[in-house]
């Protein structure tokens, strides 16, 4: 099936079997390998992307369901010149990543949180990121990073 969608602001079309997950379409058909697969049954959160602004497990959605949707992946976070998004910068500054495998999903979940709640406290960040597993960091650096990014970004993340 042919599926048209906007990915990181770019109109794309892929031709996929209906059973192809959105994650595989992004990774294999669009070569956006920043979205990682950690469990393929919706628990680990590594494949989290934004679909029409909402966080979605890309392993639990079929590419055909994204027809007409706007998808944002980790590759869409940094500026075109490679400038890291403030959230990405905060992850680096607070050692919020080690191996980097869960990081993409973690960033997308955090981005959604900061867009809906520009000033979450540590406990809210903790609660909201519970759906993204990380085996390296013990989460301390991740929570620090999101709280710091929230402070830096203020309300500028409120986007439609």
């Amino acid at each position: 099936m042919k599926v048209g969608m906007t990915v990181n602001g770019v109109g794309e079309q892929v031709d996929v079997e209906p059973r192809r997950t959105l994650a595989d379409a992004l990774r294999e058909d669009l070569a956006l390998t920043g979205t990682h697969l950690g469990c393929e049954h919706g628990v680990c959160g590594a494949c989290t992307v934004l679909v029409d602004g909402q966080p979605v497990r890309a392993c639990l959605m079929f590419a055909v369901q994204a027809e007409g949707a706007s998808v944002v992946t980790v590759e869409g976070l940094a500026g075109v010149d490679g400038t890291l998004h403030p959230l990405q910068r905060a992850f680096s500054e607070h050692h919020g990543l080690q191996c980097g495998f869960c990081t993409s999903g973690m960033l997308m979940s955090a981005l959604h949180l900061l867009r809906t709640e520009p000033n979450p406290g540590r406990e809210r960040v903790r609660e909201e990121l519970a759906g993204n597993l990380c085996r390296c960091t013990g989460y301390a650096g991740i929570i620090d990073a999101v709280v710091a990014a929230a402070a830096e970004l203020g309300t500028t993340l409120r986007e439609p």
């Binding site: 059973r19 959160g45 966080p55 639990l60 519970a130």
Partner: protein, 277 residues
Amino acid sequence: MKPGRFEYLRAAGVAEAVRALVEAGGDGKLLAGGQSLVPLLSMRLSRPAVVVDINRIPDLAGIDGTDGTAPSVLRVGAMTRHAALVEQRSHPLLAEAARWIGHAAIRSRGTLGGSLAHADPAAELPAVAVATGAVAHVTGPDGERTVAADGLFDGPLMTALQEYEVLTAVDLPVPSRWGFAELARRHGDFALVLAVVAEVDGRWRIAVGGVAGTPQRLACAEALLNGDGATPAEVAEAAATEVRPGSDVHAPARYRQAITGELVRRALARADAEVMS
């Protein structure tokens, strides 16, 4: 962990979805939020020939009775996402229960109808439906009908919905008082046991999840609660003796049974059940 092959149909309306199910001849599956179905497909525990996507059917999502008046019954479209259930203010019990479901990326996709039709015995919304005496609206080849929540759940992942029926909306009575308590190993996990108490039309109802193949009404505990003079501890004890849970990897039967009483007690405490004093 990749799904097996299936044919995909994006239904434009309920009638088309029903027709597609009929044509699939029992080998079709409705795709709502996909948060339970897709893992089953990926693990190849479910292998339908046809997947009928009902995400784009207009009017299946949405909440009536949120116009500022306090409705006594909230009509919620089957494709209303958990995130929207959390957001709404008309049915605080529904919002609280939905908050306990998974995580943001699950709640953004998962739906009320999907949860009820999937009928996981440890899920939050089926227990809320039973505890409040909800009514499900379904459409099938022979037209529309309603199914009371008390008769909706047949067993683990089994419902009274016929093979070709589509759940379209749910009427959820808004309780005047309520309490919700859940115990899970981690934040966002399926409940080991959950308890819902709700006062609807002046009568208390109690439903627990995770202790049987379906959400279970607790008739004896309810009778005590609706009678005179029973203490919360007595109601809770009745609740614990009334359930016959099974064991799984997360907890053995005796544990589930033991904490059922405690969770009912906590739900009652949250309901501020002065009725018993």
